[in-house]
Symmetry: C2
Subunit: 310 residues, 2 copies
């Protein structure tokens, strides 16, 4: 559909049970690889890699396949249970609580990538154990732009492995609090520089409803989040952001992206994240169309450009 470029996403494929002040859902489709892939599918061909259990249905696979996502590397583990996350949000949706996590088939996951997945130009290592990220990274010899997400759990429990994984990628995409935590530097701009000293040439700080900041060689870029009156469920927004960001870069063939392209990619990431949070789980992005993406990109421009005439 999109052309010669493709992108591989490794991460959790999950059932999410979520409660927010605006409703709740049981065992809806979720996981970092799923949210990422759906968002990225608006820009390029995506291969999803990850394990599921017997309880994962054809309906769930079809959500991905109908967006053109290659599901050939979704590994169905006989007798296994799909990863499950249960959580809830406070009235202030910035505050999330995890109530239960069941690793299921993820406990023994050993990634096996097919040839197309290994040869994708862009690789996204979603938030999974850093040694697992490294084993995927080492299989992908065709990768020209590798990016990684992580979380506080791995910073606390497997710090050395995470630092090693970071050294092997070109781009890190983390929450701003996680960047500060990992580098033990409270100033975000300095923390991002510290992270770049580990290897990556691109650092993206996700800031929740406040948007995102981008750090490259010697420049900084930032956008606020797209302000919405209806936010129902923030689950997966960070992965949708990453999917919009890396999907756009891959779609452009921008494996060594210039500043202009990176800034547009941040804008597309912001746009995809904004749709993600409008409804529960993947509900909104499942029925999103390309025209809506283009329109909100233009709206984001109006929302942030203060001196377009000069």
């Amino acid at each position: 559909m999109h052309g010669l470029m493709s992108l591989t996403a490794v991460g959790s494929i999950a059932f999410d049970s979520v409660r927010t002040p605006f409703g709740e859902r049981e065992r809806m489709l979720g996981g970092s690889a799923v949210h990422f892939a759906l968002a990225a599918s608006f820009f390029t061909d995506v291969h999803v890699v990850g394990p599921v259990g017997d309880d994962f249905g054809e309906d769930q696979v079809e959500v991905l396949a109908s967006r053109g996502v290659d599901v050939g590397d979704i590994e169905r583990v006989a007798g296994g249970r799909t990863f499950l996350w249960r959580g809830h949000y406070e009235a202030d949706l910035n505050v999330a609580h995890t109530d239960d996590t069941q690793l299921g088939v993820f406990a023994d996951f050993e990634p096996k990538l097919s040839e197309p997945s290994r040869n994708a130009e862009v690789l996204f290592l979603g938030n999974i154990q850093p040694d697992l990220q490294r084993r995927v990274r080492s299989q992908c010899e065709g990768t020209r732009l590798a990016a990684l997400d992580s979380m506080n759990l791995w910073i606390e429990t497997t710090r050395e492995a995470l630092v090693a994984a970071i050294a092997e990628v070109d781009c890190v995409i983390l929450n701003d609090a996680e960047i500060r935590m990992l580098t033990e530097e409270p100033n975000l701009a300095r923390a991002a520089r510290t992270l770049m000293d580990l290897g990556p040439r691109i650092v993206v700080a996700k800031r929740g409803e406040y948007g995102a900041a981008l750090f490259t060689g010697d420049t900084i870029f930032a956008l606020p989040g797209f302000l919405l009156e209806d936010v129902r469920d923030p689950t997966g927004a960070g992965d949708s952001f990453a999917g919009g960001f890396l999907g756009y870069l891959d779609g452009c063939g921008a494996f060594e992206p210039d500043e202009v392209t990176l800034h547009r990619a941040i804008a597309y990431g912001t746009v995809l994240a904004s749709f993600n949070v409008e409804e529960f789980g993947t509900e909104r992005i499942q029925r999103l169309d390309a025209e809506e993406v283009t329109q909100r990109y233009a709206e984001l421009r109006s929302l942030t450009h203060f001196d377009a005439s000069q």
Copy 2:
């Protein structure tokens, strides 16, 4: 110096004793009216209104006067002590702690505005007791654009008076958490609409290091904060923001500002706030020059415009 327009700022004139991870200062010049006036003085003529004690020196007055600020309505109370605030910040500078507040001459302050102050086109009611804000507002018959700041203390202790004060201004400038608290609405965009239902046609949400958002009739605008590697003291940043914002509007003669002018004003507010935090108290803004303001405005544009060519 600036022309026919002028702006009146009422608020605290203070000594601030501040400790941050980057140093500490005893009894430095501060207060909402001071930070506001210094920032606004880059754009228009400013009258400062507020009381000080015998301990307030000519050096402090000179800081304002040397920026062209009219200090004729700074009321020196014989035998009184200047308002004092003592506080400190954590390694994460977003977390502030108040250690002491001594109202001093502010306890019995009854504002008396001179003719030039009463006739200024733009009025800024800094963060003081809402009934006091209302008494100032009622004196200013020449005002064409009145704006108000407040804080959690007044939301908690004098809510009705604050709501009455808000109904009498055109513009509210508050922290985003305060807007949510006052309206009891966790979604910022909805909270801003609720605030507009009370009277004001312009709502500005200050978001600390994350920048600011602007809500008008039916549109939303937002900018991230200017990302800096050196942030030493956030005290007064919100007032410098308000000073840049309203000072620019007054300097343009924009008393019923259009969207383009408002967006530029938000950018100038962001710029002035960014200089404020680089050093302690008023240290940086005291030696700021107009060229630096213009330059950072252009840098902010580069930091946030993702598609300037289209």
